[in-house]
């Protein structure tokens, strides 16, 4: 276990802002539902439901951040990329380096602002994402995976 790495701590801040974003979006939706009730006489229960969701969803999202951080880990060995996440519902995933087709770095505005980036590892069938890494670490990781993938492919194993 000691070789697995955790995500950079700043990712928690990103998750916090994204929870705030959900709060805003839900507020807007609830507001619209309320307006619909005012003008087109939609049932008020829709707005009430929206309001309940607006309170509950961001609270849960905020509350889960420490867990999400603590249990999201990744590891690169010479043969495989491994990811794990979750505590209540645990998940472990292995992608052999030789199966890796490409590695993509993606960063939305929030991640860019924090100089972080998502790393997506794609195989011929599936793709899997590490939620956020420091930009230099991510680039190094990408080069490392692609380097290993090249070697694995030339090696007729």
């Amino acid at each position: 276990m000691h070789t697995t790495k955790s995500l950079p701590p700043r990712i928690k801040r990103i998750w916090g802002y994204s929870a705030l974003g959900s709060l805003l979006a839900l507020l807007v939706i609830t507001g619209l539902l309320w307006l619909a009730h005012q003008f087109w006489h939609w049932t008020p229960w829709l707005a009430v439901l929206g309001a309940i969701l607006t309170v509950i969803e961001p609270v849960i999202e905020f509350a889960l951040i420490p867990y999400r951080y603590r249990f999201s880990r990744y590891q690169i060995t010479p043969t495989a990329v491994e990811m794990q996440s979750g505590w209540l519902f645990k998940k472990r995933l292995a992608i052999p380096i030789a199966r890796v087709q490409n590695v993509t770095l993606n960063a939305g505005p929030l991640l860019q602002w924090q100089h972080l980036t998502q790393v997506t590892v794609a195989t011929a069938a599936t793709s899997h994402t590490i939620e956020g890494l420091e930009l230099p670490v991510a680039e190094q990781l990408r080069d490392q995976i692609m380097q290993l993938a090249q070697e694995a492919r030339h090696d007729p194993a």
């Binding site: 043969t79 505590w87 998940k91 995933l93 292995a94 087709q101 069938a125």
Partner: protein, 482 residues
């Protein structure tokens, strides 16, 4: 053959037929609105339809040219946007030849070429109505080339590179046995959608008919109605039966040193060639009905969409094979499958965990049952029958979940979804990724879910064994990542 060639003029017919097939509803729309339109609009509409259904295919035909070069197939197409495709032979996954009966006298056929690129729906290249020599030339060029290992993961393992690359070198041939084929057609599930459609039509019969019938013979009304329903089901069953027999008519599987070839079909003869080295996995599939009859269907998962008409887009290589002969028949065609029935005892659902699958199935149906029952009282409560069905399905899934690591390279996984047992044979090199998941509660009972991802068509085939022993799942995880 240095100049790009047009396809045969009959190809125009194929383009038109496809356009009609895709846009027949426009004609219906036109006929429906005919009465409401002025002469001017009628003319405009007819012109538009003529252009769209007759002239457009002509342009398609005119702009489609192809060239078979020693190293690649070159295809030019497109009316407003010109496409220029250049496909090297080593990239080709499958070549499919389709010959409608009316093209046979002219020695023409439709050729479709697929590569492994992630492009959905349409094949990379479709040449309607070209001489049969085109595919022959193409195949000759294709197999003269030594199979270069490409970037696709399919060839990462050791493929027989020394294979002599001549086409007529036939190693194995299999023709379906008529008896199994009839059983196979009789047990097809195609009857279900067909029966539903026909029963709906039956329900929509004009009321005067049924009413007058009932008036004429009141005491016969119920038997008559039920008899009618049975007749409809019988027709659906015969239809499904004939459909399968026509589609799989004279099914032949041939193996050369490096290729598998499947030929089938009565009105449209369909021949598909796929390289053995590109087979991602083998799947044996049987519904519960065919389980009782000991009849299996074998498919191969390929990294291209060569077999869109087949079940789940996967190429059927043995449509109906008797269980006891399955492994001895399959092994000569695909070397790495086991020569006899494997014992799948490593990955099973432990007995105390079986009820979990039933519980989950019930959880899926309970809410719809409550809603339907509450909304359409009292008949809606009939849907409660789904609950025992779900419990049984859970038990079925639990009993059929199995798997074993047969050799260090070969994994066998078996699942039971929707009253269908599927057995997958996958080599380690073709598994794209592997996942183990478990919840806190499962951890206490030492259970886990195992998911294996394999490329299939242009997508991912997830094979999931649920509620197996955590220790075995962990063992597989360690085997896989090493």
């Amino acid at each position: 053959m240095t100049q790009p060639k047009h396809t045969h003029p009959l190809g125009y017919l194929q383009h038109t037929a496809k356009q009609l097939k895709d846009y027949w509803f426009l004609i219906l729309l036109a006929l429906w609105q005919w009465g409401n339109l002025s002469a001017f609009w009628r003319l405009t509409m007819v012109l538009a339809l003529v252009v769209w259904l007759l002239v457009w295919p002509l342009l398609q035909w005119l702009t489609l040219t192809y060239l078979i070069e020693p190293t690649a197939v070159v295809v030019n197409s497109g009316i407003f946007i010109r496409h220029h495709q250049h496909i090297p032979y080593s990239r080709i996954q499958t070549v499919q030849r389709k010959q409608w009966f009316y093209l046979r006298p002219f020695h023409l056929e439709t050729v479709q070429i697929e590569t492994a690129s992630h492009q959905d729906d349409e094949p990379e290249v479709k040449l309607p109505a070209v001489p049969t020599t085109v595919a022959d030339t193409l195949n000759a060029y294709r197999f003269d080339l030594p199979l270069t290992p490409d970037s696709a993961p399919a060839t990462a393992q050791t493929a027989p590179e020394t294979a002599a690359p001549d086409l007529p070198d036939i190693r194995q041939r299999y023709v379906t046995n008529p008896h199994s084929m009839v059983l196979f057609a009789l047990t097809g599930t195609g009857i279900i959608p067909l029966a539903l459609v026909l029963l709906t039509l039956y329900g929509k019969l004009p009321h005067q008919w049924t009413d007058s019938l009932i008036n004429d013979a009141t005491h016969w009304a119920v038997p008559l109605l039920i008899g009618g329903a049975i007749l409809v089901l019988l027709v659906a069953w015969l239809g499904a039966f004939a459909w399968i027999l026509i589609r799989y008519y004279h099914f032949t599987l041939t193996r050369t040193s490096s290729q598998l070839q499947v030929a089938k079909g009565l009105f449209q003869r369909n021949t598909i060639t796929a390289p053995l080295a590109r087979v991602q996995a083998v799947r044996c599939k049987q519904t519960i009905l065919r389980q009782w009859l000991h009849l299996q269907t074998v498919q191969i998962l390929l990294a291209s969409k060569a077999a869109t008409d087949d079940d789940n887009d996967d190429l059927v290589i043995l449509p109906a094979i008797v269980q006891s002969r399955l492994y001895t028949t399959l092994n000569p065609f695909i070397d790495w499958t086991p020569p006899m029935a494997p014992r799948l005892t490593q990955l099973i659902v432990p007995r105390p965990a079986r009820w979990l699958l039933s519980r989950n199935a019930v959880l899926v149906v309970i809410l719809p049952v409550l809603i339907v029952g509450w909304l359409w009282q009292p008949w809606g409560w009939l849907s409660a029958l789904l609950i025992p069905l779900a419990i049984l399905q859970g038990q079925y899934a639990a009993r059929n979940t199995a798997g074993s690591l047969l050799t260090h390279q070969l994994l066998v996984l078996q699942t039971g979804h929707f009253w269908t047992r599927e057995t997958f044979f996958v080599r380690k090199a073709q598994i794209q990724s592997l996942r183990v998941t478990w919840s806190v509660w499962m951890q206490k009972r030492q259970l886990a879910h195992l998911t294996v991802n394999v490329r299939h068509g242009n997508h991912n085939q997830e094979i999931t064994l649920r509620y197996i022993s955590a220790k075995q799942a962990e063992r597989l995880y360690q085997w896989y990542k090493a």
